[in-house]
Amino acid sequence: MISRTVLLLRIAFRNLMVSPINLLIGALILFGTLVFVLLGGLLDSLSRSMERSVVGSLAGHIQIYSAASKDDLALYGQFGNDSDLKAITEFPKIQEAISKIDGVQMVVPMGVSGALITSGNIIDLTLERLRDLVRARAGQGGREELTSLSKEELDAQIHAEILHLRQIIKVLRGDADRAMADMLSARAVDPHNLEALHRVEKDEFWDGFEADPLGTLEFLENRIAPIVTDTTLIFLRYVGTDLDKFQHSFDRMKVMKGQAVPAGQRGMLISDLIHEEQMKLKTARRLDKIKDALANGRVIATDDELKRFVKENRSQTRDIVLQLDALKTAEMVKALQDALGSKETELDHLLSALLDTTDENFQKRYDLFYALVTPRVRLYRVNVGDVLTIKAFTRSGYVRNVNVKVYGTFAFSGLEKSMLAGSTSLMDLMSFRDLYGYLTADKAEELKEIQKDTGAKTVSRENAEAELFGEGAEVVAEATPGIIDPDTAITSTGRRLREDDLIKRVYSQKELDDGVMLNAAVMLKDARQIDRVIKEIQRVSDEQNLGLKAVSWQKASGLLGQIINVFRVLLFVAVAIIFFIAMIIINNAMMMATIQRTQVIGTMRAIGAQRGLILAMVLIESVVLGVLFGGIGMLTGSGVLGAMAMKGIAAPNDVMYFFFSGPRLIPTVTTGPLVIALVIILFVTVASTFIPAWMATRISPLRAMQADE
């Protein structure tokens, strides 16, 4: 038996050498296998690294959500929108049921939503600060750090803010004058604004401040603030979650600035990338980016993007200028004059000169900027420790206000630069529920307080919604944009309740669990158990009537999770085409070979070879061809992958950080694509040779007798 197989293999090998067409077939099979193993291996590596990214950053291994939801869950959004999910209100029961399933480590409740926040322009912020100071001085309450100040200290601070405002007005006036000097842009200057600027420039206007501070502020808010148009809207996408559980389950998460939200408390962790990209002073951000680029070997002189950054830095100095009062302006002018050895007196010109960075002076200018400029300005629009008031609109049109303290920023290690992983900030569940429109116990208490204070009208409106959401009526997820509004619509009592009580309050696990959520991440002890646990969850859900739908991280990540599969399908199609062509050629070649070998096959039959041997002989021939060249293809593909793994493939851009689960993708050679390739090769060769092989078995031994002329 063995020697017969050896004989057939020997015949196969030797026959292969005879026919040059086998070289073409071999080349096709080699190419097909190489492409399959190489790209298949890369896709597998990509899929694994993406799994690490998705599982480790937001999704967990499995996501559960209400089966009655209108949309499928798409954690990273689908076509730019968040999914419309039906709220889950029986989390403790669900958690208990799912935690019992073997292999489940933790269930982390979640809810994804978003709000549009505007941090206000610089004049808004200054006016707000001034208003708080005036209120504190008048004993009308406010933040503790203000109310604890003495009257003298408050006076001094008010004076400083007035000087700052006057400086801003001076800058605005300068802008308007320059605009007027130019015929074209002169038309764009609103005479109404010009008149207002003219008025607030004068000392008399400010002399009246002490007599009617609030009236003065109102004028500034209504007439001057709108002139400054550099307000930035930031869309803040957040996931409301049990922050403790989240931090424990997603162990790649790390706090970058500030601290974690204290256990059980309300609070937010902003994505560090959002904080850097969207909340940092643009000039500083651009300098950071140039620094990174230079470290990566790019040069300003030839790089269009870097040139643009420098140009923008030089022209867009107003962000900085407007933030400084007269005193600070003078200080900075002096400092910059010294540093640059310049006699220039205008701050914007000095800044422009400072920021005229080249490859030679960049490091020095960068250090100067961070040493002289940033300490005097607000580097981030939102700082650690700030309290953001997030105002969200529910679907029914009512407004929800929630104050959330920003405790810090966070990132997932390896994914620091990934916009996808960094697109979502974290919020505590209680704040999330408030914004979402779910009536929490302390919200109800607050409503009572408001009722007492402000009368029935407002309350009835709030109550209407409270009842709508509070009594088990259909609760719908909201992804409506909200606005951070420092002047909350709710009166001072409600505001104080939030700031002083709610922010410090520590919630019990029961309070955290007992409320609405939209979805939950299920963390497993072993990622390979995903399919089994999904089935178990579905079974438990059906048994206990929990109405849940469980999906893998891949499905939960929406379109994103499908990308690899799309590539995989494309690869399969391409490889299928290559192998299909190979099959046709093999079929033809083997048909020809069989016809040519009629006499030899007839002779073998005459001598005593059974049909099975002839079938095996022909089949083995193409299998040997396939395995030989396919094997070379596999080895080459694995070799290339292995070579790539030595250095890793650098992520070409921020998006790829997510797919690569870090700055480099280290491809690994796995048996998966190799085994599949082998199966494909065997199938292709056997299937394409089957007809010629069968034909060969039909050759009569009589053919041996016929002379071969």
Binding site: M1, S3, R4, L7, R10, I11, R14, N15, V18, Q599, V600, T603, M604, R605, A606, I607, G608, A609, Q610, R611, L613, S700, P701, L702, A704, M705, A707, D708
Partner: protein
């Protein structure tokens, strides 16, 4: 019925060539005894090859009985016929029919591998001894295309005899060889016949070849004209062939 190694009784063989039916054999009876060195002679189209095919179990009769080594071939399946060929019959072909991708040694070993009865050591011994007998023990590693026609036919003889068959069938074994080489091949066949007692049945239309046989069966138009001594057969054959000779020369 005789108890010869091959017994053929009233055999007819018909082929259909399109719409017409060709009668290749029309009532042939023949008995071949063990150890005979018998020639089947006759002109082209006389039915020599058909008769050989029936004896060689590569074809079956339309009517009549063909009994080879005690087995009636009409009653055997395709598989059994193949086994019968493998274990009982050795074939020598006019155009040698060696497997070109295999070496001399491997060609000779081939039937033993099909039989799968011997160990590789026994096979080696057997193959080498046969190649020595045919005088090719120095060419074992050669490929058939590296050999002369006579050498190839000797390889084919070794292959036919390697399984120690009862019968060796040779279809015009010398037709593709020059007369000297042909004689050498026939000498070899004859000596093997005498040494081993293997029955040889070979077809030919060459009267020089017929002389080697101990009996000649003359065929014409699908019928046996007679079973006679080589001398008589040659005389008949010369008589038969004589008128044809000028025609062949003219063509």
């Amino acid at each position: 019925m005789s108890n010869g190694i091959v017994t053929i009784q009233d055999v007819e063989k018909e082929y259909s060539l399109g719409a017409t039916v060709v009668k290749a054999l029309r009532g042939v009876s023949l008995t071949v005894e063990k150890g005979e060195f018998i020639s089947i002679a006759g002109p082209s189209g006389s039915g020599k090859t058909t008769l050989l095919n029936l004896i060689g179990c590569v074809d079956t009769a339309t009517r009549g009985d063909v009994v080879v080594a005690g087995k009636n071939t009409a009653q055997l399946s395709e598989r059994q016929l193949t086994d019968l060929r493998l274990n009982t019959i050795g074939f020598i072909f006019q155009s040698f029919n060696l497997v070109s991708v295999l070496s001399v040694y491997q060609n000779v070993e081939f039937p033993l591998l099909l039989q799968d009865k011997l160990s590789s050591g026994e096979r080696k011994k057997r193959v080498e001894s046969l190649l020595e007998q045919v005088g090719l023990n120095t060419h074992m590693k050669h490929r058939p295309n590296e050999l002369s026609g006579g050498q190839r036919q000797r390889v084919a003889i070794a292959r036919a005899l390697v399984t120690d068959p009862l019968i060796v069938l040779a279809d015009e074994p010398t037709a593709n060889l020059d007369s000297q080489t042909g004689q050498a091949i026939l000498d070899l066949m004859k000596s093997l016949n005498q040494q081993k007692g293997t029955t040889f049945i070979f077809s030919t239309h060459d009267h020089k070849v017929m002389r080697y046989a101990n009996a000649v069966v003359r065929l014409a138009d699908g019928k046996i004209l007679g079973r006679e001594s080589p001398e008589l057969a040659v005389a008949h054959a010369v008589g038969m062939d004589a008128p044809a000779a000028p025609v062949q020369a003219a063509s």
